[in-house]
Amino acid sequence: MISLAGRDILHAWGKFVFTGVGLGLLIGVTLSMAGIYRGMVDDAEVLLDNSGADLWVVQKDTLGPYAESSSLYDDLYRGILTLPGVERAANVTYLTMQVGSGERERRAMVVGVVPGGPGEPGQPDTLVAGRHITRGHYEAVADLMTGFRVGERVRIRRNLYTVVGLTRRTVSSGGDPMVFVPLKDAQEAQFLKDNDAIVHQRRRTEANPALNRPGVPGVLEAVLASQSVNPAVNAVLVRLSPGADPDRVAADIRRWKRLQVYTRAEMQEILQAKLIATSARQIGMFLVILAVVSAAIVAFIIYTLTLGKIREIAVLKLIGTRNRTIAGMILQQALGLGLIGFVVGKTAATFWAPIFPKYVLLLPGDAARGFVIVMVICALASLLAIRAALRVDPAEAIGG
């Protein structure tokens, strides 16, 4: 047996490779889009993993701390610690802001954690360099993606922090790298007003006769002091004792403390449904459009190539070649084009994935699915050309 399709491809390989590469770049974009979606899901997943929490305690009626802002008093965790089934509980704050180093600024999610090292909820689990935050102030652990180095001094608001450790794959659900700082510093950074605002507030407080009564010293000072500290955190991260039922403990906290509590499964649902869903639909739209465009390209190319061979096809039919052989030739060419395209696309996607600013996760399963879809699209796209070829009248070879 002889493969007509293969021989045609070898003969016109330039044309095939050229269109195959074009198609391949399109397929590469498609695979990358899927990878961006997977990366987002994975970012959300590692966000939850990295928090080290089994339960998230947040302000009542909010979807905090990742999907909505949430504010809790920073001594609530003490009460939570006393409940049965709770092993550890730690305050945490999250705030996306600019972190500077010299001239450079980097957008990052600043996480305020209770110093103490691994095991404490909120603390990064493993470091790739350096050590954990041990001092209560002005130390930071940064994700590798920030580009910061151990020993580097970085600026958050008005304070300088020394980077003492580096982590990896600690990102916000938006893909921003995390910078961990001591909780107290983070609270201050969240709350910090500029000097003018402080001066204005002071002046107004001093001018308030109720707070500045003659003969009652100390009241004004106390009020001013309370205005300059921030007793709020965004959430309390709870680690359960082994064997504790998350739903039971969550129900207890809700009942006793009248707070909102989310389990891991609920948190995952919130991230997926509230934060990722729209982007996922957006990407889904892109995937559909790219699939249609790829199909149109393959159909057009194969159709043109077939029209260029009408005479040969008429001759083949005249001398007794079966329709099946001719249809097979066209189908195989379409599949061949798809194969070239897929190989180019997969290579391109793998090559350029690390250059993307956000995490692009290329799953082998997605590639396999993509391959099947490319092949199906190519097969469908060849139908038009096959129909044209089967309609060719063998008498055309003889002419008038």
Partner: protein, 258 residues
């Protein structure tokens, strides 16, 4: 075509009327063949009762003015279009008698009929050998065997030295010889040639006719050549002149070929 010699009476030429033998022994024969295109007011009777018989080993010419029905007759003979009435036999096998008598016309074309066209129409992406060997290879014969047979034919047609070339690298005459080899590969009892010499100069045209004659002898093939070509008409021993849908048999000059 006015200068051709006067028609000789029928019967002296080598039509073998034998029956009960195989196609190679009796060639192709058609009787009272009619073809009507369309129906009603716009119907065209392209063939109005054509009789023709070509013996194995014989090369006959089929000539006639434009619109006389040459191509129509060739398409009927080649089982590409269906006649409207009459009878066609190939050897002892009746292939048409008021309807097709065999189910698989494609197989008939593949196994029993070779085609040579005005242009060679070689498959551009196959080399010369595979162009010739294509049919048996597609039919599932071992590639080596098919190519071996192709080489023998290419040798017989003096193009063996171009066996590895692509069609685009051949001259017009070489391409036409490869096309003839392709038509011969399945050793068909009949070859239909449609203006095979039209694009060739007189020397090459005569060479192609010489080859067809030699192949007819060598493989005992009945060959029908449709032509307008004044250069080659004198080479036929027997000519069918078709006029207004009917054939008239004439003796040709049968001029010797070197």
């Amino acid at each position: 075509m006015a200068e051709r010699p006067a028609p000789r009476p029928l019967g002296s030429a080598g039509v073998s009327p034998a029956s009960g033998q195989d196609a190679r022994a009796t060639g192709i024969r058609i009787e009272g063949l009619r073809k009507r295109y369309g129906s009603g007011d716009t119907a065209v009777d392209a063939l109005k009762g054509v009789d023709m018989a070509v013996a194995p080993g014989e090369v006959v010419g089929l000539i006639g003015p434009s619109g006389s029905g040459k191509s129509t007759l060739l398409k009927c003979l080649g089982a590409i279009i269906e006649p409207s009435a009459g009878r066609m036999t190939l050897g002892t096998q009746t292939i048409y008698e008021d309807g097709w008598r065999i189910p698989d016309l494609r197989a008939l074309r593949r196994d029993k009929i070779g085609f040579v066209f005005q242009a060679p129409y070689l498959i551009p992406f196959l080399d010369v050998t595979d162009n010739v060997a294509l049919l048996p290879m597609l039919a599932g014969r071992p590639n080596a065997e098919a190519r071996q047979r192709a080489h023998e034919l290419l040798g017989a047609l003096d193009v063996a030295h171009r066996a590895a070339a692509m069609p685009s690298q051949l001259s017009g005459g070489e391409q036409q010889r490869v096309a003839i080899a392709r038509a011969l590969i399945n050793r068909p009892p009949v070859i239909l040639a449609d203006e095979p010499t039209a694009p060739l100069d007189s020397q090459r045209a005569l060479a192609v006719i010489g080859i067809l004659n030699r192949m007819a002898q060598q493989y005992q093939t009945a060959i029908i050549v449709v032509t307008h070509d004044e250069k080659i008409i004198p080479t036929f021993r027997r000519i069918y002149q078709i006029r207004d849908g009917r054939t008239h048999e004439e003796a040709g000059e049968g001029r010797a070929l070197d």
